[in-house]
């Protein structure tokens, strides 16, 4: 097979990306749209999935291992199986759910620092199309709320020291590819974090 001088100058890089965020914020849909261009119509909570997907960044082939996780709180232990050797975390929230944004700082950052201290984080706003959905906006207004704005999302990204802040709509396939590409870029120079699964080491806790 003839070698394209523009491509394949390096061996493919292996990078692991873990998608985190509250249950039902749209992580699985985002991954499905990215990997298969398919937006699922039925919600089914994820146990875990691991998709391997190749992506090219600046002539560099990256074999991206994409880990979908369970967002629900009762699956905290199950989720902890996914953290080993992670290069980047895509931390997601849904703009129509302010709780999911609040949990970024109150829950997810704590969990990441427990299992994956120091990993690069890309904050991703999901379901951005719903900002213009009149039913959603009206519904939120009833509770004195409005969808999360770009500025609010950005502020949280800065607070948590995220490497990027991106916005997408999986339903309309807006910003999806860019989100993964940016995350992949972040991962290129990242060192893997998180204890490997098979380690029997008991981690120390600072009391």
């Amino acid at each position: 097979m003839p070698c394209n001088p523009l491509f394949g100058k390096n061996k493919p890089l292996h990078r692991k990306l873990v998608v985190l965020g509250d249950g039902a914020c749209g992580k699985t849909s985002l991954l499905n749209v990215f990997t298969r261009g398919y937006f699922p119509q039925i919600y089914e909570p994820t146990v875990f999935e691991n998709y391997v997907h190749d992506i090219w960044i600046d002539n560099q082939q990256i074999e991206l291992s994409l880990w979908d996780t369970a967002g629900q709180e009762e699956f905290d232990r199950l989720r902890s199986l996914s953290y080993a050797d992670t290069h980047v975390v895509m931390l997601c929230f849904a703009v129509d759910n302010r709780d999911s944004l609040e949990n970024i700082e109150s829950k997810w950052i704590a969990e990441i620092s427990e299992h994956c201290q120091g990993v690069k984080i890309v904050l991703v706003a999901l379901k951005c199309d719903l900002r213009e959905d009149i039913n959603v906006v009206r519904n939120m207004q009833r509770y004195g709320e409005r969808p999360v704005s770009y500025e609010e999302g950005l502020a949280v990204a800065q607070n948590i020291n995220a490497s990027r802040y991106l916005e997408c709509s999986a339903k309309h396939n807006r910003g999806v590819r860019e989100a993964f590409e940016q995350s992949a870029r972040v991962s290129i120079h990242a060192r893997p974090k998180g204890a490997p699964h098979d380690s029997n080491n008991v981690r120390c806790i600072i009391l």
């Binding site: 190749d54 699956f75 199986l81 806790i205």
Partner: protein
């Protein structure tokens, strides 16, 4: 004229009468003179007779008196003979009065005879004194016999348990004894003999006290030595009853001494009466203290019990010593040595826990709660039974001074104890004990070969500590301690759960996405990967299951939690894998690889650690 004549005639008649009367008067005067003469003569002859009669009468009276005096003296001279029989026979208990009368007579005789300074009475006085001495001895005998009759030993415990006063001597006999005593004490140097009845009193009553308290003294020792539990249980030693009994008996004893003994003898008599029983009491206390010294960890609570009893009764003891007019150093020494022993127990207990680390202490093969954890927490629980005493002693010891080694930074505290209150110092002590226990457990857990077992061991032990902290020491300990052990429990549960990860990782597959779609049909390579994963999972699960089934988690709540935590990961991951691949034809013989349906798997996990269900 007639009338004149008549009157002349009357006049003549009157003159005639007058002459006759004058003649008569003259005759009577001369007769009276004769009478006077005769009377003067009579008086002169009678007066001397009268005078001599008076003299004779007085003489006769004097003779009578002298005779009576001599008779009286002779009576005293005869007294010895008359009373000897009566006195030497001894008093009739029912008619003490007549005996005392006899003695009174003798006493009076001595008094009288001594006053006469008659040469002849000296011998009689001597005899009388002998007789009196014999009488006193008889009275002493009576005193002893009466007192002894009223000094039968009792079982003070039956009065203590019913919270009754110790009975004294009934009013009648008490009055008789008091009468005898005052009689005996009234004899002094005049007979050259001082009665020893106070000595008799001391001897009889001291024996009574000693005998009555003997059971309790022996009981104090035997309850401490022959108890059913290895560790002393609060309130089980007879010493406290002994203390109550001796104080109550001493109280009644003083009332008796006050009634019977003459006032100047009450204090010394009481003091000497209680001396031997008190010595026995202190000796019993010393014996127990020595026992505690030799069995510090199991018996120190006996010291606390004794100290609480002694401290509680310190006022009563001081009252006894005040009434007895003595300073009792032995009693104070007992208190001091008990306190010293109790103080030593605090550092010793921590040392014991620390040194257990070095010893080849058996470590349970199933990872269950260690004996050291149980005994340490029991010990702490017992300390809370004596919280006030313990706080006082820890303050005496000084905050942190229970740590013999200065190495541990955790243990350095302000040792001056200034500004530290009892509840803070006990908090520090408990925290240090638990810290030492944690260190020992941590270091002992390293001898397990398997991480899972190390985790189960530490999980069990820290969980047991946490439960005790919550249920028993909540008021004593700093709330941070609870959080600390909550974290430890979480840490070792997490550590244990991690040991399942290699097993679970077999169920974690990878979906290869090429050209925008996941590959649906399995190639032969994928098929063998799935087979391999099922096989590896089965092997790994069975091995883990077999080994972990023998581990113990005795606490049901903890066991349920740990099993739940395994299942919360295992069940969804297994179900997912099963659902995903059992439809695909990864093998012609799928039952070879799918060994467990989810329900079977769950039932198996539910039975983990069930060896510890007793």
């Amino acid at each position: 004229m007639d009338r004149l004549d008549e009157e002349s005639a009357d006049l003549d008649f009157l003159e005639e009468n007058l002459k006759n009367t004058e003649a008569l008067t003259e005759k009577m005067t001369s007769m009276l003179n004769i009478f006077d003469d005769r009377l003067v003569r009579l008086e002169a002859s009678i007066l001397p007779i009268h005078k001599s009669t008076l003299t004779l009468t007085k003489l006769a009276e004097n003779i009578d008196r002298t005779r009576n005096g001599v008779l009286e003296i002779i009576g005293y001279f005869d007294l010895v003979e008359r009373e000897e029989m009566m006195i030497k026979r001894g008093p009739n208990e029912n008619d003490l009065e007549s005996y005392l009368n006899s003695i009174g007579k003798c006493k009076k005789a001595i008094e009288v005879l001594s006053g006469m300074r008659l040469k002849s009475s000296e011998k009689v006085i001597g005899q009388l004194k002998q007789l009196l001495k014999a009488a006193i001895l008889k009275l002493e005998d009576l005193f002893r016999s009466w007192l002894t009759n009223r000094s039968n030993s009792i079982e003070p415990l039956s009065y203590i348990t019913k919270n009754l006063d110790i009975p004294g001597i009934p009013q009648g006999p008490l009055q008789n004894l008091a009468t005898l005593s005052s009689y005996l004490s009234s004899f002094g140097p005049e007979i050259g003999y001082n009665s020893d009845f106070v000595k008799v009193y001391i001897e009889v009553r001291s024996t009574y006290l000693t005998k009555s308290l003997k059971t309790l003294a022996q009981g104090s020792i035997s309850t401490a030595e022959k108890r059913s539990t290895p560790v002393y249980e609060k309130g089980t030693c007879g010493f406290n009853s002994y203390t109550d009994a001796i104080l109550k008996m001493f109280k009644t004893e003083y009332e008796i001494a006050e009634k019977i003994l003459p006032s100047e003898s009450v204090m010394p008599g009481y003091r000497d009466t209680i001396q031997i029983p008190l010595d026995n009491y202190v000796e019993t206390g010393r014996t127990l203290t020595n026992r505690i010294k030799k069995n510090m960890q199991t018996d120190v609570f006996l010291a606390f019990d004794m100290m609480e009893s002694l401290n509680k009764n310190v006022g009563s003891f001081e009252e006894v010593f005040r009434l007895a007019g003595k300073k009792d150093s032995a009693y104070n020494e007992l208190l001091y040595s008990l306190r010293a022993v109790a103080l030593c127990s605090f550092p010793e207990f921590i040392d014991e826990i620390k040194n257990n680390r070095a010893k080849t202490m058996n470590i349970p093969s199933d990872g269950t709660i260690h004996e050291l954890t149980i005994t340490t927490l029991q010990h702490l629980k017992r300390l809370t039974d004596y919280q006030e005493t313990v706080e006082t002693m820890l303050l005496t010891l000084g905050d942190g001074n229970w740590n013999s080694s200065e190495k541990d930074a955790n243990f350095s505290r302000d040792k001056t104890g200034r500004g530290v209150s009892g509840n803070v110092v006990i908090q520090h002590y408990f925290a240090d004990v638990l810290e030492s226990l944690s260190n020992t457990l941590d270091s002992r857990s390293k001898s397990y070969k398997k991480t899972a077992l190390t985790c189960i061991f530490l999980l069990n032990n820290y969980h047991h500590i946490l439960k005790s902290v919550r249920s028993q020491f909540y008021s004593v300990l700093d709330p941070d301690i609870e959080r600390k052990y909550e974290k430890m429990v979480k840490k070792y549960n997490d550590g244990y759960q991690d040991t399942w990860k290699p097993c679970f990782s077999n169920l974690m597959d990878t979906t290869w996405v090429r050209g925008g779609s996941a590959l649906k049909a399995l190639g032969s390579n994928e098929k063998s990967i799935v087979k391999e994963k099922f096989k590896n999972f089965n092997t790994e699960f069975e091995e883990t299951y077999k080994v972990h089934k023998s581990y113990a988690i005795p606490d049901p709540d903890l066991r349920i939690q740990v099993i739940k935590d395994i299942k919360i990961v295992l069940m969804p991951v297994y179900n997912r894998f099963l659902e995903k691949y059992q439809q695909t034809e990864f093998s012609k013989n799928p039952t070879k690889y799918i060994r467990y349906d989810p329900q079977t798997l769950e039932n198996m996990v539910n039975r983990l650690f069930d060896g510890s269900i007793y």
